[in-house]
Symmetry: C2
């Protein structure tokens, strides 16, 4: 799908209103209200969408636990053959403006896209200049220092997915730094599952993460980060749930030819299966690299990775979801969530109660042993 | 959505053809060809849809492994206040005709809906007359005897989900009997996860299954059965995959108010995550019971469970899926699959290779212990 139009726009243009409601109920679940938020100065530069996710009922003993999340998707700014400090500086400048607008929208937790400081250069398999952009995941990191200041200024939690360089041993990781609303670093999570598909040559650059499945207990709720390819792994989503997550962010970078029909399914299924909110974020635009590269598909060498299709969205425990952001434009999606819906959905559907964890712990233990015998009749 | 029209029909009626292709690609994945199959004698009685799922490439060392599956969704026939032998006999008569037509469509494996011999009477919490319909899951069972004969006649594998009575101890189970193409019983699987939601009072009638996650190695491929509510549990799907399943059937009974927005997500996500085919089957129609019952939602007593919305479909490892059968009518969905796509998808996407099973076996073992401490930062 290379049209500039989203599926939503096409449906809105052609399907009569009453029927569209029925279609949307099946496609998107319960209707989600718009949230009134300030316009962005230049709407041609960044789409801003606000959603107020419903579904939670008013409890007698607990107050609503409203929180606003902000999802930022963006293209790169400066061509990839320019000096890398100019490239990351230009991205930062526009991201900072979007975060500033998120603050105006009263966002409590903002999450950026995967490896936001750079083009998604892993398709090239070139170590330089790209590995120069890897930085420590602490206050000494180029981007973390800046975002800690923004987090403090806006009293906002910021999830910042970067390319990490561990100074001890110069190990490279794909990492999300979680920054608290006082500008302090709460911790980090390293991507658990690394792809080997298409031009996602990431296994050339870094290994599977060693940070487990941390849940960060912020003042705005318990949050976790499932980075990109980890969304294909239900076990990864599950462990964040078992550790108590109420919102799991999925900062990603993925292209249309490969994954677009999967995009609306996986993070949404995770929200349903684990009774938490999920926030799927994809970068946007086509990134062209100076040197040609091949894709292991017998086709001629080329300079770009394909189109990152944006389409970031939020899914709720009850299976409803927001519309996606644009496929071709930067965007900020603001969603107001009531975290009480997580426990309410567990009470209603009972997925955690009926999950028979011990049986599966034993099953997976057997299945992960070398002498595993499949249960075949 | 109480319209008689499916989402597909609405879109087809209103969205211009070129744009519809784009919409369908995002909603349904890669385009799926129609499969030429014989018409049913009375198309007003039973919708028959044929699909030829593509995506597999021709290998050099393996031939295509084509198999045709048949999914049957149906309403009950005789009112629920009539004698129960008349009720089940009437259902059987029409099911047998559909199976006969499936044979004309060259179907190799047919799967019926959950508890197909009866109305889905668990909403009433009345033990009688409904438990009289429970039967042993062997050749002495009323339905199994009949279906073994049909399986032999049509040289077809039949999956028959019934209410099982285990004569030893008179235990009741929700069970799928798997019958081989020579009319022999290959084995059975008992539903692993029992709902406690809405009018699904099944936990009043039977307990969680004790048959593990068997995969049946038939001449038409390795198949398994994930019964109804088990589709909400990614671990259940996963274990069938670890045991080698290539097709997992999900015979179900679920109503529109509760689950319709989840229906297209869960079985399809399972196909993606586990690189196998999934076949989701839901019963169809509204079943009215003689005595009124309440639903634990503060609303007045009533006589029906709500609308079973059919919409049965097949999803492929690459994330593509067929259109759903009708929401209001009996249906037979025939799909031709190439089982080679399972391994090809594993090779392409690498989800099994990158799954880090040992880490999760350890994680689930910890999480299922009483002194489990969540990984909270």
């Amino acid at each position: 799908m290379d049209s500039q139009q989203t599926v939503d726009q096409i449906l809105k243009d052609h399907v009569p209103e009453e029927l569209l409601k029925k279609v949307n109920k099946v496609i998107y679940g319960a209707e989600i209200e718009k949230l009134e938020i300030p316009h962005y100065d230049d709407p041609n530069k960044c789409e801003v969408a606000g959603w107020k996710i419903g579904g939670a009922h008013q409890e007698q003993l607990r107050k609503p636990r409203l929180v606003r999340v902000g999802l930022i998707q963006n293209s790169i700014v400066v061509p990839t053959d320019q000096p890398i400090d100019a490239q990351r500086e230009a991205i930062y400048k526009k991201i900072a403006a979007y975060i500033d607008h998120a603050a105006k929208c009263k966002v409590n937790i903002v999450c950026l896209q995967e490896a936001w400081t750079m083009p998604f250069a892993f398709c090239t398999r070139e170590k330089y200049p790209w590995l120069e952009l890897a930085e420590p995941a602490d206050e000494t990191g180029w981007s973390t220092e800046k975002l800690c200041a923004l987090a403090k200024q806006h009293k906002m939690v910021i999830i910042s997915p970067i390319l990490e360089r561990d100074p001890i041993g110069d190990k490279i990781w794909n990492t999300a730094v979680v920054i608290g609303s006082e500008g302090q670093i709460l911790g980090k999570h390293r991507k658990n599952h690394i792809p080997r598909v298409g031009d996602f040559n990431e296994s050339t650059y870094y290994m599977e993460g060693d940070t487990g499945h941390p849940v960060f207990n912020t003042e705005f709720g318990k949050i976790a980060v499932n980075i990109c390819y980890g969304r294909h792994h239900p076990l990864n989503w599950l462990m964040f749930g078992l550790n108590g997550a109420e919102i799991v962010f999925n900062p990603s970078a993925t292209v249309g030819q490969l994954s677009e029909p999967l995009w609306g399914i996986e993070a949404r299924n995770a929200a349903i299966a684990n009774s938490y909110y999920t926030c799927a974020i994809n970068r946007v635009g086509t990134e062209r690299f100076p040197n040609e590269f091949t894709s292991g598909d017998g086709k001629p060498a080329h300079h770009d990775f394909g189109h990152f299709y944006g389409s970031s969205y939020v899914a709720a425990p009850d299976g409803s979801r927001t519309r996606g952001l644009n496929r071709h434009m930067d965007g900020l999606l603001v969603a107001e969530l009531d975290l009480n819906l997580c426990r309410q959905t567990k009470d209603l559907w009972g997925f955690t109660m009926t999950q028979r964890l011990k049986m599966y712990a034993e099953g997976l233990t057997r299945a992960s042993q070398e002498d595993f015998k499949q249960q075949i009749v």
